[in-house]
């Protein structure tokens, strides 16, 4: 575990000390959180505004986790790959899975801090979350699902995309596409049939819908994602993406010439 802890410490410090990384990971969701209500909730009835802000806050938490897993993680891996760190590590007595686990845990800590920050800003900004303890715990489970899927996608990007900038931009593009096409910014009912299917199938979109459903209610989602079939599929697909990402990372980033 000492090797895993060393990787966690190193990766986390790198995240914290990279000002651009902090800015883009934390600032974009906070910016959306503050600006979107000013643009779209002006005409909304006063009694639902706090719930709308609550829904937006939760979506921004998911957005932040997606950015950390899908953009920051592959960016950091690509940067290390570019400067020959994997060559050095391949000559050392450390197993790829331990190194990968360290990186994943560092992303978890980093995105948890960001998520708490977004939640706090949202609550200060007037967001209302109507939930009990059980709903909150269930929501945490869906947050975890989002995290696993995001990290799986991030590791897959890292396995194939070379260059820090290319890997980060690929991750950002996937995050934005997921956000805009998966019913996270536009209500589910106004999505075309094809994208409604996408929103139900994609584990991150589905987990986001489940969290908002649990903490804000069905009106703020547009459908009930909490049926056995969809929950099982979301969990399974998320874990599958994570395992595939982990395997691809271990195989391609650590590949011997």
């Amino acid at each position: 575990m000492n090797q895993v802890a060393a990787v966690v410490e190193k990766t986390f410090k790198e995240f914290l000390r990279d000002k651009m990384e902090i800015f883009w990971t934390f600032a974009v969701p906070l910016f959306f959180l503050i600006v979107l209500p000013l643009m779209f909730y002006v005409d909304a009835p006063k009694e639902v505004i706090s719930n709308l802000k609550g829904g937006l806050t939760l979506t921004m938490v998911i957005f932040l986790i997606m950015t950390a897993g899908q953009a920051n993680l592959p960016g950091s891996i690509a940067s290390d790959k570019g400067r020959g760190l994997y060559l050095k590590m391949a000559s050392m007595p450390i197993k790829p899975w331990k190194e990968a686990l360290g990186r994943v845990l560092a992303v978890w800590i980093f995105s948890s801090i960001g998520a708490i920050l977004v939640l706090l800003v949202g609550l200060i900004y007037g967001a209302k979350l109507s939930c009990g303890l059980i709903d909150a715990l269930e929501s945490l489970g869906f947050v975890l699902i989002t995290f696993f899927a995001s990290v799986g996608i991030g590791l897959t990007i890292a396995a194939f995309v070379k260059g820090e900038s290319a890997a980060t931009h690929t991750g950002v593009a996937i995050t934005l596409l997921t956000y805009f096409l998966g019913g996270m910014v536009v209500s589910y009912s106004s999505l075309p049939a094809l994208l409604q299917t996408f929103a139900r199938i994609h584990p991150i979109c589905s987990a986001n819908a489940s969290i908002v459903f649990l903490l804000e209610g069905e009106d703020f989602v547009g459908y009930n994602p909490l049926n056995t079939g969809q929950i099982c599929f979301t969990i399974m697909s998320s874990l599958l993406i994570f395992i595939i990402g982990f395997a691809l990372y271990s195989k391609f980033c650590w590949r011997k010439k």
Binding site: V7, K13, L87, S91, I94, K257
Partner: protein, 343 residues
């Protein structure tokens, strides 16, 4: 049996820092040093491209072996195979008797590899980098702190240990990276072109440090295409087209080349005409282009120097500097392989 047991004791488990690498334990009974690196008929192909063509090499423990060759000769590939980061196509590589493929875990505890690239993290301090790599090697956090402190001290980085690597010079960064390879238990230091990009003063300091590390007990495998770097080695190997074509002590290589003197000529212009004129003065028609002019090889430079200046003046080329000097390893390489190390 006894010999094997001694090897195992020293080679695998936690032992004091490299500097105390106790070669007494690793010596064979007859007093000869044992082989730190043994390479037999090593071949490496990338598709149809044959990069290594049957390399054979034995490096004794505590030797400072410099491997020289032009770009693309296969030096880095050979270093990466020894460092367990590349797989070979056929042949065998053993580190203290352990096969690099079958016993990679044991081998990795015996080698410290510094690849060409600067792998240290710019966002971390020198100390944090050193601790990170020490922990990756398997030491606990507390042990790593002590070891890192010791390593940084020995590499002359103690004062700058708390500075971020982004504030380090090229030479400091390279020394830090060598420090991350000098972990307790490591017996072989593999350095791949470590002086590339360093200014002359930083290079000199760096080479001095590596020499001291070698004198304190480490075996050094040093890959370079810079002749001056190889001068400090106890043995130099010349690599060309995937083969080690010659391999000996620097002085003996000089003798074998038959070179006595080199005339270094710096000229105002460099073109084929100048080259053709100078060729007439070279003992064997060989001429090496340098950054500021040319080098020719001759037995009695004092006799030809005035004629060189005169002949070049006739074709409108001024000699800005001309001097006779003893041949460098780079000259020996050129003489023996007919190829310049640097283009």
């Amino acid at each position: 049996m006894m010999y094997k047991r001694k090897t195992k004791l020293c080679a695998t488990e936690l032992v004091p820092p490299l500097y105390i690498a106790n070669s007494i334990f690793l010596r064979k009974r007859d007093g000869k040093r044992m082989n730190a690196i043994t390479i037999h008929n090593l071949q490496k192909n990338y598709g149809d491209d044959e990069v290594l063509k049957g390399v054979n090499l034995k490096i004794e423990e505590r030797e400072f072996y410099a491997l020289m060759g032009p770009n693309g000769s296969g030096k880095t590939t050979l270093a990466s195979i020894i460092a367990c980061t590349s797989l070979h196509s056929s042949g065998t590589v053993e580190i203290y008797g352990h096969n690099v493929v079958e016993e990679a875990k044991k081998v990795k505890k015996l080698i410290g590899y510094v690849p060409q690239e600067n792998f240290s993290s710019l966002h971390l301090t020198g100390k944090e980098n050193a601790i990170y790599f020490t922990r990756l090697f398997g030491f606990s956090k507390d042990e790593a702190k002590k070891i890192a402190r010791d390593m940084l001290d020995k590499m002359g980085l103690f004062e700058d240990a708390e500075k971020r690597v982004s504030n380090y010079s090229g030479g400091m960064r390279k020394r830090l990276e060598v420090a991350t390879a000098l972990l307790p238990g490591v017996k072989i230091l593999i350095l791949d072109e470590p002086t590339t990009g360093l200014d002359p003063s930083a290079r000199k300091n760096f080479l001095g440090l590596i020499k001291r590390v070698n004198e304190k007990g480490a075996t050094v495998f040093f890959v370079t295409h810079i002749g001056e770097d190889a001068e400090i080695a106890s043995r130099v190997g010349f690599m060309d087209k995937g083969k080690i074509v010659m391999d000996d002590e620097p002085e003996r290589l000089r003798k074998r080349s038959g070179l006595k003197n080199v005339v270094n000529i710096e000229t105002s212009i460099k073109n084929d005409r100048v080259c053709n004129v100078l060729k007439q003065f070279s003992d064997d028609d060989k001429i090496l282009e340098t950054e500021k002019g040319f080098k020719i090889y001759c037995q009695k430079p004092e006799e030809i120097t005035p004629s060189i200046v005169k002949s070049l003046d006739k074709i409108g080329c001024k000699v800005t500097r001309i001097e006779a000097m003893p041949p460098s390893i780079e000259d020996v390489f050129f003489k023996l392989t007919e190829k310049p190390l640097r283009r």
